[in-house]
Amino acid sequence: MHASDKDAAELPRNNHPIGADNQRRWGLNSFASRRKIFLILFCMPALLYIVFVAVLPLAQGIWYSFFDYSLMRPNRRTFVGLENYYTLFKNNEARTALINTFVFTFGAIVIEFGLGLVLALAMWRDSRFNNIALALILIPVSITPVAAGLVFRAVLTPDFGLIGYWAAAFEISSQRGFLGDPSTAMAGVIFIDVWQWTPLVTLILLAGLKSLPGDVLEAAEVDGASAFQRFRMIVFPMLLPAVFLGVVFRMMDAFRVFDIIIAATGGGPGNTTDVLMVYAVKQGLQFFNIGYGSAVANLMIVCIILLTLVVTLVIRRADRRINS
């Protein structure tokens, strides 16, 4: 657009709205600017959709969070400034939900990447067996999360569950089962998330492994580097970009976990598995505290942005230290 603006300034003003001069003024004849307009038009529907259906409601949510606004008392809607956020930080339940969310996210990601790395290394070789195994291992990714939560809730039940019964009988879990006991419930829901999403992490890491240059690894092997040395000095540093993207994507999803928890524990027992998403939905859409619920949702957005920044910094620093 800038180039054609400059052209327009140099041309004498033309009073005829339509005509060859006008066309030249807007640069409609040059292919480059027609191309530009075409591409902008092509991008517009998606952009407008996101702005009107996602960004505007988000802005509205920020606006609501400064009000004492509840659908239970629709006539009273007073501006309270930051009071909702202040309540949020004083409230024990909210603080528990915040801590639980971080514990869940951190626990799930660490285990998923540990297991995923082991599986990806085992599947590195190109073979028919590995291809079929990969297709089958990816099945949990497409399972309805609610169904996954319910399956484990059933299997882990201490009375009749296939695993839960024996776990309780041999006193591996308490008599209330893994998901029913406050001390193990969080580990239980993390386990479900690990079951569902480790396959995805495996795939991401496997794609990273397969893109490594084979000649470098061969050279190291010829030079007598042990398998562990090769992993530590070559494979792991070169895998970092894949790890980084995987961590960011998994983190976003783990931080807003909802379906698995609702299906498996409903946030209980007590509020030991109550995460921010469950808390925000409960406050905003079940108790209809629109103002307060929005404040919780906004806190989540801030946390996700901060987490992404921290992960970016940590991985970049690790990358620099290992690769320099």
Binding site: N130, A147, M277
Partner: protein
Amino acid sequence: MKLQLFIERATITFGLIFFLLPVLWLITVAYMPGSAIFASPPALGFTPTLKNFDTIFTLFDIPKLVTNSIVISLGTTILSLTIGIPAGYALARSQSRFAPMMAYFFLAVRMIPTVATLIPFYLVMRDLGLLGTWWGVIMLHTILNTAFVVWMMYAYFRGLPKELEEAALTDGCTQFGAFFKVSLPLVKPGIIACALFTMLLSWNDFLIPSFLTNADTKPISVALLSAFGVQDVTWGTLGALAHFSTIPIVIMTLFLNRYFVQGLTKGVH
């Protein structure tokens, strides 16, 4: 070398057992009679029965639930692909330095926790009188999915050589023609992958439809959870319901596995 192969195979086999057993349980429990499900200690052998399927057909309006799921996920898929693919193409072909930034903007949209848009959206839908219809669900699903489609198609279109299109354009092809007839057929794998993912996300979602639909318009993912709470209902009904909600989508992904794997890899990188 033999030992290494053995360790690899053993690890993979262990992984397969861990990841597939719960799915097998979900399928077999549908054919278990109540007495076998609630045996203590849990029994492994049982005589198969179809009673659980009878139960879900009397308790739930299965055809309606499945229709609702199909309408919501197909609507979302068509809408997200229609607006997402051109945008991905435009960003991939644009020379502007804002284009990569825009691509990251779409990626950032994916990070939004659903409640943050759901609460204000719930109020808007209520004011418009659209609560309890498919529209709200489709519109909200389309946000996440469009962001995803744009990001993924951006990656696919960037991987195409520009020369083909340039040749078509110099031969007098229109810009739209160059996109539609030259580039679009070449990214067919990407389009299939995108369609599969939008379908999957929309079909499996629970949170959004559980607040925006009513008894007549709710999809089967919402019914799954209520199956667990209803009296007279055992895990057998969960398994039977899963035959209509989870198993079809799993079979679909297995058939399209090549695109699924390629898309997951590309969508992340």
